[in-house]
Structures are given as C-alpha cells and as structure tokens.
Amino acid sequence: MTTADVLMLALGAVAVGAAAAVVTTRQIVRAGLWLVVALGSLAGLYLVLSAELVAWVQVLIYVGAVVVLLLFAVMLTRAPIGVSEDLDRSRWPGLLIGGGAGLGLAALLIDAYQWSTVDLADGAGAEEVGAAIFRSWVLPFEVLSVLLLAALVGAIVISRPDVSARVGR
C-alpha cells in the first residue's frame, strides 16, 4: 500500500459516495452540488495518477462550466427547492442493470489486474500532452472544434423562443 494507493482510496471513496448521493438525493439542487464534489475528487484522482493537464481541464470545464450549466438548467426549469417526492421512477430496473453493470465490470477488472503494480510514469504534463495532440492527434482535434461549433449553433437554434409552437392559443 503506497501513499498513492491510500490517496486514491480516499479520493475514490469520496467520489463514489458523492456519486451515490447525486443519484439518490431527493433535492435537486443538492444533487448538483454533490456532483461538484464527485467531479472535484476525480480531479484529485487524476493528479495522483500524474495527469495534471487532464485534472485541471476537468476542474476548469467540468466543475467550472458543465456543472454551472446544469445548475442554470435547474434554476430555469423551476426545480423545487427542498425535498421533492417524485424524482425517482421505479428503482428495480436501475438497480438490476446498474448494479449488474457496475459490479460486473468491477469483477472483470479485479480479475484482470489482481494486485499488480505499475510504476507511475512521467505523467501527462501539459507539455507532453500538448506535443502528443499536435503531433499525432491533430485531425481529431480540428474535427472536435467543428463539432463544438455545430453544438454551439445547434444549441442556439434549438432554444430560440420563436421556434416553439404557440401554446395556449
């Protein structure tokens, strides 16, 4: 059990606990906040795994933009503040499939890796990852920028107010 392991266990526990809270809490706003916790501890996990760029991008974009966007959506859809009773559908399909998938994958991975060890390599610092992107992965990078443009345009078009049909004529 190295220090890295201990750190990973701790951060992992926090992440899994927060994720469980996200999918089970009965207050919508708190789910968003628990998501922040989960994503933040994942960023910590990335740091332990010496993937610094990924970690900070995670914090910047996921925690900084995506979760904020989700909270905006929660506000704009007039989510009730406080406990709301009707947030969940019947649970057993979720338990069955989600539990099956999660535990099955865990079993698979445990079986694959047992208690082997790896050396933490040089790590994915900003310089190394940048070099890798612009050397080998330039095309996907450019395509992603087009994708972002398409998503931007699409989001604007979809949410225009005059595109909705007249309700309550």
Partner: protein, 139 residues
C-alpha cells in the same frame, strides 16, 4: 508505484451508479447529471490505462480523456438547450410525461384544456402547415 486495480474499480462503481441514475431519475437535468457520471467513469479508465498500457503513441489515454471532456461539454450544452425548449413547451421536464404520439397529446390536451397545434407541426411558427415534409426557413 501503485495498484491500478483501485482506480479501475472506482471507475466501475461510478459507471454503475451513473447507469442507475439514468434509469431511475425522472427529471431531465438529473438524468444529464447521471450521464456526466458515466462519462467521468470512462475518463478515469482512460487516464488509468495510460499508466497500465504501453501504447505506441504515448499519453493517448490523457489525450482521449481531454477529447471526452470536450464532447461532454458539447453534449451538455445541446442537451440542456433541448431541456429548456421542452420546459417552454410543456412546463415540465419529467421525461416520462412526454407524449409519444399525436393521439396521446390530444388526450392530454383534452384533459388539461389547452390548445394543440396541427399534427407534425412542433417546429413551425405557422400552425397551419400540416405536412410533415414541409421545411420552413426560420428567419
């Protein structure tokens, strides 16, 4: 020196929790949050795989994790735009209350007394266009 099984198991458990959330939550925003969990589980696997797999191109896992983050951001943007439009149309974002056919929509409207535009017409500001093949250039 570390044991890669730990982050892998964490990822698997996150994935399972995400799937449970997708299947159980009724609110569309909460469903998107659960989808984020799934994507993060994948990211964790990718980053960990960077350390366990000797790839021909170094740091591929990290690169792909970045790409996934970008995709997730785009997806959340568009998804939330849809959710907002849905909210404008139906005043609610419960995913199991969306009517599946025109008849169901008429049935709901009859119950609540609201007006329903013509069939095949949800994207047109002119409610009289009834053809599903008519394409309107939105000004």
């Amino acid at each position: 020196m570390m044991h890669p099984v730990i982050p892998y198991v964490i990822a698997a458990l996150l994935f399972g929790l995400g799937v449970y959330g997708v299947l159980t939550r009724r609110n569309a925003v909460l469903l998107l949050m659960a989808v984020e969990l799934i994507l993060n589980a994948v990211n964790l696997v990718l980053v960990t795989a960077d350390t366990t797999v000797r790839a021909a191109l170094p740091h591929t896992g990290g690169v792909f994790a970045l790409f996934v983050i970008v995709l997730a951001a785009a997806e959340v943007g568009v998804g939330l735009a849809i959710v907002l439009q849905l909210y404008r149309l139906r005043q609610s974002v419960q995913v199991d209350e969306v009517p599946l056919s025109y008849e169901e929509r008429l049935g709901e409207a009859a119950g609540s007394g609201e007006a329903v535009p013509l069939d095949g017409d949800t994207w047109s500001s002119n409610a009289r266009t009834a053809s599903p093949w008519s394409v309107e250039v939105i000004p």
